[in-house]
């Protein structure tokens, strides 16, 4: 077969890519650092009391960081406006 060499080369390349990405993920997810960050401790202690939400992720993205969420919805609004604008004439 002519293409067999190229086929095995592709497979080896993909396996190397998977190992590389897996290595980076392993380095990144190796476990929690010993010392917690101050903002994490603050949110764990005061998050529910400050915003009222038991789910701390929600208390961040709608309580402490609600302005970010407003920006995200604005991005979605602009995307919808763009799609409606550029596909308007064609029916």
């Amino acid at each position: 077969m002519i293409h067999r060499g190229r086929f095995y080369g592709g497979v080896i390349l993909r396996i190397l890519l998977v190992l590389l990405v897996g290595g980076f993920l392993y380095l990144a997810l190796r476990g929690d650092p010993e010392t917690g960050s101050p903002i994490r401790d603050y949110i764990l202690r005061r998050g529910t009391e400050d915003t009222g939400a038991l789910n701390l992720v929600t208390s961040i993205y709608l309580g402490y960081r609600a302005f970010d969420t407003l920006g995200e919805t604005l991005v979605l609004l602009l995307a919808v406006s763009g799609v409606l604008l550029f596909t308007e004439g064609k029916k």
């Binding site: 789910n55 929600t58 709608l62 609600a66 969420t69 919805t73 919808v80 799609v83 596909t87």
Partner: protein, 139 residues
């Protein structure tokens, strides 16, 4: 696409439960995993399932594009109004204007619930609007 009875029956029975699950994700986002964006996308996927399986005309008869775009912009305006309410009540833009509860068991979560529902309806309208428009382009 070839339509079968199984596809039609399953999609017709499944879509209301997807809407229900999306609304659950919206209204319980402050207690459990979920929230506005996820719930909105689940509702939009129900609409997309209807339009894929039952045809785009059926989905547009149930959810007209005009109403969806009105819902999208109206929810954004309400979101801005809810943010401005915090300014007038002295807690800053998008702050929580509800009073801090004296008792420990009473959560002041109404603001987050309102924002979750607004964001979720807005995301549902936006994503389904984009997909309906692209499906119509495809035909």
């Amino acid at each position: 696409m070839k339509k079968t009875d199984i596809l039609e029956l399953v999609s017709r029975k499944l879509a209301p439960f997807m809407f229900l699950f999306g609304l659950y994700l919206l209204t319980y986002g402050h207690l459990s995993p979920g929230g506005g964006f996820q719930g909105g996308v689940v509702i939009a996927s129900g609409i997309i399932l209807l339009s894929v399986s039952r045809g785009i005309e059926t989905a547009e008869a149930l959810f007209p594009s005009f109403s969806l775009s009105i819902l999208e912009t109206f929810c954004f305006i309400l979101l801005l109004a809810a943010g401005l309410a915090g300014v007038f009540l002295g807690v800053g833009f998008l702050g929580n204007p509800l009073p801090r509860a004296a008792a420990a068991g009473v959560p002041r979560v109404g603001m987050i619930l309102l924002l979750n529902i607004l964001v979720g309806l807005k995301v549902a309208a936006g994503v389904s609007l984009i997909c309906l428009r692209f499906f119509r382009e495809d035909e």
